[in-house]
Amino acid sequence: MTNTDIKNKIETLQSDLTFSQEDGDMLCIEVSKDTLKDFLTKLKNDADLSFDYLFALTGMDFGEDLGVIYHLESTKHRNLIQITAKISDRENPEIDSIHEVFPAAYYNEMEAHEFFGIKFKGHPDLKHLFLPEDWDKGFPMRKDYTDVNMLVR
Amino acid sequence: MERIIFYIISILMIVFAVMSVSNRNIMRSIIYLLFVLIGIAGLYFMVQFYFLGAVQLTVYAGGIIVLYVNSIMLVEKINNPLDVTKFWKRLLAGAIATTGAGLTLVAIWSHNFKEATVSKEIGINEIGKAFLSYGDKGYILPFEVISILLLAAMVGAIVIAKTNKVKESN
C-alpha cells in the first residue's frame, strides 16, 4: 500500500486528522488526544490496515505543547505510520493510556510519564521506572528542564 | 577413661535437653534436641552397639530432625519467639515428667544389673535375621512399629506447618 492509499483509507475511519509528509517513507498523522485511543483501536482492528505492532512510543516536548508520538506498523502490509497527539496543558498533561490496545505501551508510557510528566489515564502503575523512586527535580527530558550539572550546548 | 567420656556426654545431653525445652526460638531448640539425640547415639557407640547407634542417627537425627527443620521453615512466623506456656500447663508437664523419671529410676534401682564382662560385637547378619523373624527372638513387630513412628513424625510436621484456622478467624 502506498501512503496515499493509507491516507484515503484512514480518512474514512475518522475525520479530525491532519496529514503530513505524504511523499516520505512514512505517513504522519496528527490526532486530537481525546479521540486517540479510539483511533488507534480502529487502526488496529481494521482488516485492511491492521496496524497491530507498536513500533515506538515517544514522549515529546514541542515547546508550547507536550505530546506523544506513536509509530505503528502493520505486520501484514509492512507500512509504518506516525501518529502525533499534542497536549496543550503543560501543568497537568493528561492523555489516554493505550496499554489495553497495545500491551507494548505499558512500560513505554511509564518512561514517557517520568521523563515528560505526561499522565496516562487508565495506566495502573505509573511509578518511576528509570529514575530513582524519590526523584522530585522535575521532568528531565522536557526542554525547560535545567540541571546545574548538565553542560550547556 | 570411658567413665569420663560417659559423664561428659551425659552432662552435655542434660544441658542441651534443658536448653531445648527452655529456648523460645523454635529453630534453636530443634538443634539442641538434635544434639541430645546425637549424644544418645554416642552412648550407644561407647558400648559398641554400632547398629543401634547408626539407627539412632539415621532415624532420629537424620530423619525426624530434618523433617522437623524442613516443616518449621515453612511456618509463617518462625522468627517470633514461642509463647510462654501457662503456669498450670507447665506444672502438669513437670509433674508428668517427674513421675516418668521417678518410675524409670525406680525400675533401674530395683533391677539387679550384672556387669558385662565381654562386650560381644553383634554381627549384621544376626540383626538382619532377627528383624525378619517372628519367632522367639524376632523383631518384626517392633521393626514395623518404627515405620509408624516415622509416620507420626510426618503427621506432626504437617500439623506444625498447618495454619490454625480457628485462631485466624478470631
Binding site: 517513507d25 507494548a104 528509570f130 550547556v152 | -
Partner: protein, 373 residues
C-alpha cells in the same frame, strides 16, 4: 481435593525477592522484583535505570555526526549496527547516495557483529542454564572476530567504524583473507556447539515449552528480533525494509513457530548460519571505490520526522529523529529492541520457576545499556 487442601489448609505466604541489580543472571544491572510463592513466580516487575545515561537528551545537544558515536554505548554488542542506523537515517534524510563498496563492507561488518553477539549470547546462555564451559567456547570464536575488527579500525567493541556517508577507514588488506579464514573456522565449530548444548537432553528439557508466547501476543507486546521470530513472527528488518547490501544477498529468515525458549534458541543458532552465508556471498564481491562520500561539515536535517530501522543482533533497532531544521535534532529517540522484549517477560514467566526465569531472560538476550539508554 489436592488443590483445595493445598490452598485452604496449607496456607502459603507470597514473598518478594529482589533479583538484581547485582545478580549473575541479569547480565548487568537490571533489577527484577519477583513475587514468589515458594519457587513459583506470581509476578515479575522490573526496575530499570541503573545505568541510564540519558543518551536521548545528550543527542539533543550534539550534532548528527557526534550522535553516531553515542549509539555505540547503547547495545554495545551490536555497536556497529547501531552506528549504521544513525548514518543511514541522515543519509536517507539528505539523500546521500553511498556506493556499493561502502554498502557491502557495512553489511559484512554487520553480520560479523551479529555473529560475535550471538556467540557471546550462546556462551552466556549455557552458563545461565548451568553449563559453564560454553562461555569459553563462545569466547574462542568471538576473539577471532574481535581481531578482525581491531585490524580494520583499531577498536574491538565500540568500533565507531560507520560515519555519515561512509566508513572511517578503508578495510585492511588482510581483511578478506581473515574473514574467509574465520568463516571456514566457524563452519567447523558451529556443529560443535550443537553437540555440546543443543542436543543435550537436560538443556532441551529446560527450554522446551518454557516461556511460551503466542504469535498474537508477541506482536501485541512489540517483540522483535530473534525473540519474536521464535514465535513465528516474520520481523526481520533485513528482509522487510532492506538497507545497505541486504537486497543483494540471498538469505533465509530464521523463523520457528513453537514460541518457547527453545525456539528462540534455535532461531539464533540458525541466524549464525545465515550470517555466515551472507558473509560468504559478499566477501568476494567487494568492489573498488571510495570508502567515504564527502559530506558537508555541518549537517542540517530538513524539518520533519525521520525513522530508520535496522536489524541489530537483538532485533528491531529504530532511530527516530524529530528535526526542526537545526544542526541539532529537536528530539532523538532510540527504539531499543531489548526494552520491548523485556516488557513481555512477565507474560512469559508467570507461573514458572525461578530457574525458568533465568532461562527466559537469557533467551530474550537482554543487554542492559540498550534497555536503559
Amino acid at each position: 481435593m489436592k488443590e483445595e487442601f493445598l490452598t485452604d489448609q496449607l496456607k502459603t505466604q507470597e514473598y518478594f525477592l529482589n533479583m538484581g541489580p547485582q545478580h549473575p543472571a541479569t547480565h548487568g544491572v537490571l533489577r527484577l522484583l519477583l513475587k514468589l510463592d515458594g519457587e513459583i513466580l506470581r509476578n515479575v516487575d522490573m526496575d530499570l535505570g541503573f545505568i541510564h545515561r540519558s543518551i536521548e537528551k545528550m543527542c539533543e545537544r550534539d550534532t548528527y555526526k557526534q550522535i553516531v558515536h553515542l549509539t555505540d554505548r547503547l547495545d554495545y554488542l551490536s555497536s556497529h549496527i547501531n552506528n549504521e542506523a544513525v548514518a543511514l537515517l541522515v543519509e536517507k534524510a539528505l539523500n546521500i547516495e553511498v556506493n556499493d563498496r561502502i554498502k557491502i563492507i557495512r553489511t559484512i561488518m554487520d553480520e560479523l557483529t551479529r555473529i560475535s553477539s550471538h556467540v557471546l549470547w550462546w556462551g552466556v546462555m549455557g552458563m545461565d542454564i548451568g553449563a559453564l564451559t560454553t562461555f569459553m567456547y563462545g569466547f574462542r570464536e568471538r576473539e577471532l572476530i574481535n581481531d578482525i575488527f581491531e585490524e580494520t579500525c583499531g577498536a574491538r567493541l565500540t568500533m565507531n567504524y560507520n560515519l555519515i556517508g561512509g566508513l572511517r577507514y578503508d578495510i585492511h588488506e588482510n581483511f578478506v583473507k581473515r574473514v574467509k579464514d574465520f568463516v571456514a573456522h566457524f563452519k567447523k565449530k558451529l556443529p560443535e556447539y550443537d553437540k555440546l548444548l543443543t542436543g543435550n537432553i537436560i538443556f532441551r528439557k529446560r527450554l522446551e515449552g518454557i516461556g511460551y508466547i503466542s504469535k498474537e501476543d508477541a506482536i501485541a507486546y512489540g517483540l522483535n528480533g530473534p525473540t519474536a521470530r521464535g514465535s513465528g513472527v516474520s520481523c526481520d528488518i533485513r528482509k522487510i525494509h532492506p538497507y545497505s547490501a541486504y537486497d543483494m544477498v540471498d538469505f533465509e529468515e530464521a523463523i520457528y513457530t513453537e514460541g518457547d525458549s527453545y525456539a528462540r534458541y534455535k532461531v539464533r543458532i540458525k541466524e549464525m548460519w545465515q550470517s555466515l552465508s551472507i558473509i560468504e556471498q559478499l566477501i568476494d564481491k567487494i568492489p573498488e571505490g571510495e570508502y567515504k562520500v564527502k559530506t558537508k561539515a555541518v549537517i542540517k536535517l530538513p524539518a520533519g520526522s525521520f525513522v530508520q530501522r535496522v536489524e541489530s543482533a537483538r532485533g528491531d533497532f529504530g532511530v527516530f529523529a524529530y528535526s526542526d531544521g537545526q544542526k541539532f535534532p529537536y528530539r532523538f529517540k532510540f527504539r531499543s529492541p531489548g526494552f520491548a522484549n523485556l516488557t513481555a517477560l512477565n507474560k512469559m514467566s508467570k507461573g514458572l520457576k525461578i530457574a525458568d526465569l533465568v532461562a527466559i531472560l537469557s533467551t530474550i538476550d537482554v543487554v542492559v545499556p540498550d534497555i536503559d539508554r
